[in-house]
């Protein structure tokens, strides 16, 4: 197979085995159940960060077998796109392992990370696709972009254009998508980082909407990225594949967005870990991505900071790190909102796992994206600080710390502290955080310091390591 596989993918989408989607789902469920048993994948809620290399390798092998047996489903043609073992192995081996994100002085190099490795995490921030109002969008983006420990900027989903609800597939979607692209460029300029990598425009739902944001003079540039989505589980369609065609030819970074559902078609933690790894393989084979967002989330509550979500991040991260050259990034979705202590505990647990299990960092999707305007730069700064402080620690040590963090919030996952949105805890003129927001940040940092994480000097040491790498 050559690098531009789209003609092959379309050919196989048109000629692959026909299967009703409901049958694909049912077969996938049963196959995953079988693989969990066959590969003896077990979930221990007291060991959320396993130090078991063989387990990680078995999860990877199970995922490859899932891909071999099921292929990927094209909803547009109701056919399965199948690949041989050799094709899978070849494509995975050739997946990008080192990326230049952004341009000029603001560019960062993001590399494949090893388990318990010393390569510092890159920090992707921003609203991570969560709902943001037209009114505060620019300020929120600037708040994230100006944080020194943030390397790349995410984007929010703004639901209105000049006050009108945006309808996908209409001119409003195009107008709003272009508005947001221009806004993002302006926000990074105001932050003093005009070359910063912007990872996506979250608002557009259609291919036309996404590609309308590519305006190198004032919107998205080749050094930026756009998300191409998978549909749960292991599915795609021609709208998504068409984005790949365009982005490839424009030289933009293609970013893999997967949302394996914990409790969904993959079942519990074990099956969802296998599906998560299989989703990464789809991202390589079908989308030729630069990097992946490991966006698994609970079907029940939409978070990934509960025991199952944390375990999946740990195990899938290790499986990918040990067996592929891929660049994968966690995608933290805590239940709590801004202005609360709970959010920092949830982020701490997720960030530590990413750091020792071969991932980079992406966050924070506060309130699981349910509440409006729940993003600022502070929680992203905190995520980076924790990740850097966790460098060089073992999985066993981090497991103990994660369990301690989990105790602080586990009984609040169903009814979390929702806190306050951005305009109520950030000065809208100066973009300084209120004391009400800094207090829980400082408190949790102090407690983590007492627990043994170097929250004061850790990030400095990490940035020196980055210089040396």
């Amino acid at each position: 197979m050559n690098r531009n596989r789209l003609t092959t993918i379309v050919e196989r989408s048109e000629s692959g085995p026909y299967m009703k989607e409901a049958d694909f789902d049912m077969t996938l469920m049963k196959t995953v159940m079988k693989l969990v048993k066959e590969y003896q994948i077990e979930f221990d809620p007291m060991v959320l960060v396993p130090s078991d290399d063989d387990l990680a390798d078995r999860v990877y092998q199970a995922a490859v077998e899932l891909v071999l047996e099921m292929g990927f489903y094209n909803q547009s043609t109701q056919r399965r796109i199948l690949f041989s073992r050799e094709e899978i192995d070849q494509a995975v081996s050739l997946a990008p392992f080192e990326l230049l994100l952004g341009e000029g002085k603001d560019a960062v190099v993001e590399r494949h990370r090893e388990v318990e490795g010393m390569e510092p995490c890159c920090m992707h921030s921003g609203p991570t696709g969560t709902p943001i109002s037209e009114q505060y969008h620019g300020l929120i983006l600037q708040s994230c972009a100006q944080e020194q420990l943030v390397d790349c900027l995410g984007h929010g989903s703004v639901a209105t254009y000049q006050g009108q609800l945006i309808i996908p597939g209409t001119p409003l979607e195009i107008l709003a998508a272009q508005r947001d692209a221009v806004q993002a460029r302006e926000s990074i300029r105001k932050a003093g980082r005009p070359g910063m990598h912007i990872e996506d425009m979250a608002l557009p739902l259609t291919c036309a909407g996404k590609i309308a944001t590519f305006m190198p003079d004032k919107g998205m540039r080749p050094s930026d990225g756009l998300l191409v989505s998978q549909l749960p589980e292991l599915k795609t369609d021609y709208d998504q594949l068409s984005r790949v065609a365009y982005l490839s030819s424009m030289g933009m970074h293609i970013v893999d967005l997967m949302t394996p559902l914990i409790g969904g078609l993959g079942g519990g933690a074990q099956g969802t870990a296998i599906v998560t790894v299989a989703c990464h393989i789809l991202g390589v084979l079908l989308y030729n991505v630069s990097y992946h967002f490991m966006g698994h989330m609970s079907l029940q509550l939409s978070h990934n900071t509960g025991p199952m979500g944390l375990w999946i991040q740990a195990v899938a991260g290790q499986a990918l790190s040990r067996n592929t050259p891929m660049v994968s990034i966690n995608d933290l979705y805590p239940r709590a909102g801004l202005g609360t202590e709970q959010i920092f505990w949830e982020v701490a647990a997720g960030a530590m796992i990413g750091a020792v299990c071969g991932l980079h960092q992406h966050g924070v999707g506060a309130t699981c994206g349910n509440e409006l305007d729940h993003t600022s730069g502070l929680e992203a700064r905190f995520q980076a600080e924790v990740a850097h402080a966790a460098l060089g620690r073992s999985r066993k040590e981090i497991n103990d710390l994660v369990l301690t963090c989990l105790e602080k919030y586990q009984d609040k996952l169903v009814k979390p502290d929702l806190g306050k949105p951005f305009p109520e805890i950030v000065d809208l003129d100066t973009l300084e955080y209120s004391q009400e927001w800094l207090d829980p940040y400082n408190k949790v940092k102090e407690e983590l310091q007492i627990m043994g994480l170097d929250m004061v000097g850790g990030w400095k040491k990490a940035l020196m390591l980055r210089r040396d790498h």
């Binding site: 049912m26 995953v32 639901a159 609800l165 945006i166 079942g267 519990g268």
Partner: protein, 214 residues
Amino acid sequence: MTEKLLTKLGDAIKDGDEESADEITLQVLDKGVDPLELIQKLVVPTLSEIGRRFQDFEIFLPELMMAGAAAERVSGHVEAAALKAGTPSTTLGKVVIGQAEGDMHDIGRNIVTTMLTAHGFNVVDLGRDVTASTFLETAKKEGADIVAISALMTTTLPAQRRTLSIFSETGERENFKIIVGGGACSPEWSDEVEADGFSPDAAGAVELCKKLAS
């Protein structure tokens, strides 16, 4: 003997064993068990318990879907038996369900469909990205009792409003109960678009449909 068979049938549904559910249902009906009672006294309570365990996340979607598939096999035989005997249909009503236009999500709607079917509703699933006119025409053609429109994203809420409007503008609004659901919905939104109800989850959707269909 019949009691033992009923217990085995209950277990087959819980285990998602379609083949066993199929076989045992035929045996049970052969023994003269009333089809309606089989649904009301065995299938519905079994699936309600499975639904509760799913809501509490004690089990997950595969177990729910497989139990639903097994229960559907039972319902199929029961419907056939009822038809043959000329007894009234066991269905609680007909529901046309679909994802609002522009919305490409499935899983939540699939769960609701499974639960509604399991509880005795006849469900016509229109799938994803359903236009307002398709909801209308299908509801009329199928003689639906309830139309259920799902929207997972804020950006697809306008399509729910558009669907309700088209029912009103064509004078069909009073002929159907229309409910809304999905992650982007809320009771406030349901009131704003003048829907007949809203449910935040699948179990609630079943209860709402039962109430509206009675």
